[in-house]
Subunit: 200 residues, 2 copies
């Protein structure tokens, strides 16, 4: 956790309050676990603020339901806290891109982005998670320049977190906050398989 002391005082003409309340555009990238989990951890704070949360998962299969989804559906149904919408873009999408119909995936990804664009324009949510969104960008399904332009020009106070490996350079350049999750050691290196409660 940062200590809250900015390293420089910017000459942007904004008051501290205005500067404090600027919406954040964050990117979680790198080869290691923690990109999505940290984004969902951030979403817990958003929930606690009573914010409207929109999660858009770009690669996971619609059949794949991670623990975070169940937890946020439960949180979103409570009287306290914020609301949660959880969307998974596509049936049979594969993280490794080895199965399914690639053309359909590209069309689904573009459809997902078009919907997010509409929501950003309409200020539908306070906090967006675009989970594993770097993949359709890297595969050329969605235009990165358009994404950057749309996010930078978004109205109001909408926070956006994008996760996924190999974040495009334009995305990194445009983001306020970029974290790289780096592998020091992974159990799979020692032959450990994924397990429930940990990997999903």
């Amino acid at each position: 956790m940062p200590q809250g002391k900015p390293e420089v005082v910017p000459g942007d003409g904004l008051t501290t309050r205005q500067r404090r309340n600027r919406p954040v555009f964050a990117v979680h990238t790198g080869a290691m676990k923690g990109k999505s989990t940290a984004a969902f951890g951030m979403a817990l704070r958003a929930w606690n603020q009573g914010w409207s949360i929109g999660v858009f998962q770009f690669v996971k299969s619609a059949k794949w339901r991670v623990g975070e989804e169940s937890a946020f559906r439960a949180l979103g149904a409570l009287d306290e806290g914020g609301t949660v919408e959880w969307h998974k873009m596509g049936e049979g999408w594969s993280w490794s891109r080895k199965q399914g119909n690639e053309e359909d995936h590209a069309a689904n990804a573009r459809e997902g982005w078009a919907e997010i664009k509409r929501r950003l324009a309409g200020q539908r949510h306070d906090f967006y998670v675009l989970d594993e969104f770097t993949y359709p960008l890297n595969w050329g399904w969605i235009d990165t320049a358009e994404v950057v332009e749309t996010i930078l020009a978004r109205p109001g106070r909408q926070h956006v977190v994008i996760t996924g490996r190999n974040a495009p350079a334009e995305l990194v350049a445009a983001a306020d906050l970029v974290v790289e999750m780096t592998k020091i050691k992974h159990p799979m290196d020692a032959g450990q398989k994924g397990q429930r409660g940990i990997e999903w």
Copy 2:
């Protein structure tokens, strides 16, 4: 997310099932945001499995209540999912170590660890978050060798996640999973201050 394919098949004499169900000891370290948030993201999965979750925050002030805490208290109170205990060790503990009585902090930290040790021996929880636990280790308040020995010898299937900067080498050596959160870019570099819903 890992693809679930181990890179090597170990010659440890365990069945795949035994190997799959080995408890994980994870360390989230590095200078950047995301260490604790990713640990709490993992805890969402644990909650979804119906597991007993124990969170022990070693540095944050007892007055400091992050959004994650409120969210987990809400989740823990539901009929579905797991149970949540959230403990903050000490009043007035400071992340920057600039305020409060250092001697009391050391005693409080040791007391916290003694309680965790008892719980591990009694298999009290399925999933432990020892948040910002590297600090009392690095400051010499708690003996790292004893922590490593205790965690490696813990009975049953108890998952342990330790977060904090500068994880001691013995901890990294002993852990199954070590992620480093690396800063690529942070809004505070550009004068941005912390804001609610994002930093807490």
